[in-house]
Amino acid sequence: MQAEPLIEASGLAVGYGGEAAISGVSFALRPGETMALLGPNGGGKTTLLRALLGELSPLAGTLRVGARCASVPQTERSQLDYPVSALDVAAMGALSRLPWWRRPGRRDREIAADSLRQVGLDGLADETFGKLSGGQRQRVLIARSLVQDARILLLDEPFSGLDRPSSERLEALVGSLAAEGRGVMVATHDLEQAQRWDSVLCLNRDQIAVGPPQRALDVDVLEATYGGAIVELPGSGRRAVLPPHHHHHPH
């Protein structure tokens, strides 16, 4: 018997100003599950994440989010010259529990320090956020979502701009957080990495496919997801997506 899903969407359509940006989205995210969210830019990944956070309401279909959702955005979107430490940023996660006039107190900062330890940043709590490396900053934001006590983590392109070791550490961290019973959804461009998650959700304005990567990802699905033809790169055995309407220019 499987655990009750943390997120259940059925025939979900979400959009802006009454116009659907994504539609036909149906999936379930269970405790302990890691799900890759694949799709082209403008394919609706961010729209879906915003709907899960409750910032956009369904235009059609149903969406049930059964636990607290935390967003782990790309760290470049925050002000990197901001006068805060890693601990200050992690402690911001406590705001969602506090009445509006309270700021994170000593107890909240202890929780934040524990969370930083949990993501492997002990010793860097007092460092200025903007001076950390990209991977360290991403882990601070994950620590912030742990302070929020969220059972669902939504990561938006967390691996972009990270070098390989940082990327691997982050991937291991995501795996261990899921193993503790959280549901993790990762919007990503990295197809190779997506195959190591429990499931994938392919989105290109419509839901193209959902399921375990071995079953859900095939050439037809990828073509529909990225809107282009898949070609095998000569000699390498690797595949690449050709964007639609691609013209060959003489170089």
Binding site: L53, E55, C69, A70, S71, P73, R77, S78, Q79, Y82, P83, V84, S85, D88, V89, M92, G93, L95, S96, R97, L98, W100, W101, R102, R103, P104, G123, L124, E127, T128, K131, L132, S133, G135, Q136, R139, R144, Q148, L162, D163, P165, S166, S167, R169, L170
Partner: protein, 279 residues
């Protein structure tokens, strides 16, 4: 050194400047972090017609400045609604219109002399009402900013993510701009239409150069505002220079000093550099 304190007018000027320094230094940190320096400058200039009308009617400047800043704010919102006009252009259009209108009123033959006082302030001659208004401003700022601190910090850090943390960007920004508008209207008596922005931008920008944490930044900003306010008044007293302009110069000097000082702190104060860990 204590000679200026023996003069009644200097004691009043120092009191007014200290109150404005505390309020301006504290709000200024959020002005700098929210990149509102241009908005501050604009709001200050746009209240000129209100100030001129108040001066003509012989009522406290506050009574002219307060409605003018509300009208300017609403006009900016309205003009920005016109398709093809960005917020920045709207600010430019409204502010120059308001400032021009103020100059037109002030320079008409029927107007009494004294426009200089509106442009450059009269820090050396605050009335009892001015001192009371400045004291109330300090109480308001000292109440509102600590209450809003957590939310202001989260929204300024990442506006988009703040909502999912339970901090509304609209609320934080509205509270901040309302506080700023009130503070400008109160401070314009002392520092004048053209110079008032200095106290909201200079000390905080200098403090930002000296520290990388928000709470020390607010403390330093207030201290710099107080010190440069006092230095400016001393300069004015001994050199016979204009009060508001001397204070502004002192603030600028503090900012210039903060640049090399900040670099020294970064080199020697931070003895433990970031460990070069992977990832």
């Amino acid at each position: 050194m204590l000679e200026p304190f023996q003069e009644e007018f200097m004691r009043r000027a120092i009191a007014e400047m200290a109150l404005l320094g505390v309020a301006g230094g504290a709000i200024g940190c959020w002005v700098v972090l929210y990149r509102l320096s241009y908005a501050t400058e604009s709001l200050a200039h746009s209240i000129l017609p209100g100030l001129v009308l108040a001066a003509l009617a012989g009522v406290p400047l506050l009574l002219g400045g307060a409605p003018a800043i509300v009208i300017a704010g609403l006009a900016i919102v309205l003009v920005a609604q016109v398709p093809g006009i960005s917020r920045e252009v709207a600010v430019g259009v409204v502010v120059t219109t308001m400032f021009g209108l103020g100059a037109l009123l002030a320079l008409s033959p029927k107007s009494p002399p004294g426009i200089q006082e509106l442009l450059f302030g009269d820090i050396l001659g605050p009335s009892n009402g001015d001192l009371l208004a400045a004291a109330l401003l300090v109480i308001t700022v000292a109440t509102a900013l600590p209450l809003m601190h957590g939310r202001l910090l989260a929204v300024g850090f990442d506006r988009n993510a703040a909502r999912s943390l339970g901090a509304s960007p609209a609320v934080a920004e509205t509270v901040l701009i309302a506080l700023l508008a009130v503070a400008i209207v109160v401070a314009v008596q002392g520092l004048g239409n053209l110079l008032v922005a200095a106290v909201f931008v200079g000390p905080a920008a200098a403090a930002r150069n000296l520290t990388e944490r928000i709470v020390p930044m607010i403390g330093l900003s207030v201290a710099i505002a107080l010190a440069s306010g006092l230095a400016g008044l001393y300069l004015s007293y001994y050199a016979g220079t204009a009060g508001g302009a001397s204070v502004t110069l002192a603030i600028v000097a503090a900012y210039l000093l903060s640049l090399p000082a900040g670099r020294l702190i970064a080199r020697f104060g931070d003895a433990a550099p970031v460990p070069a860990t992977i990832g």
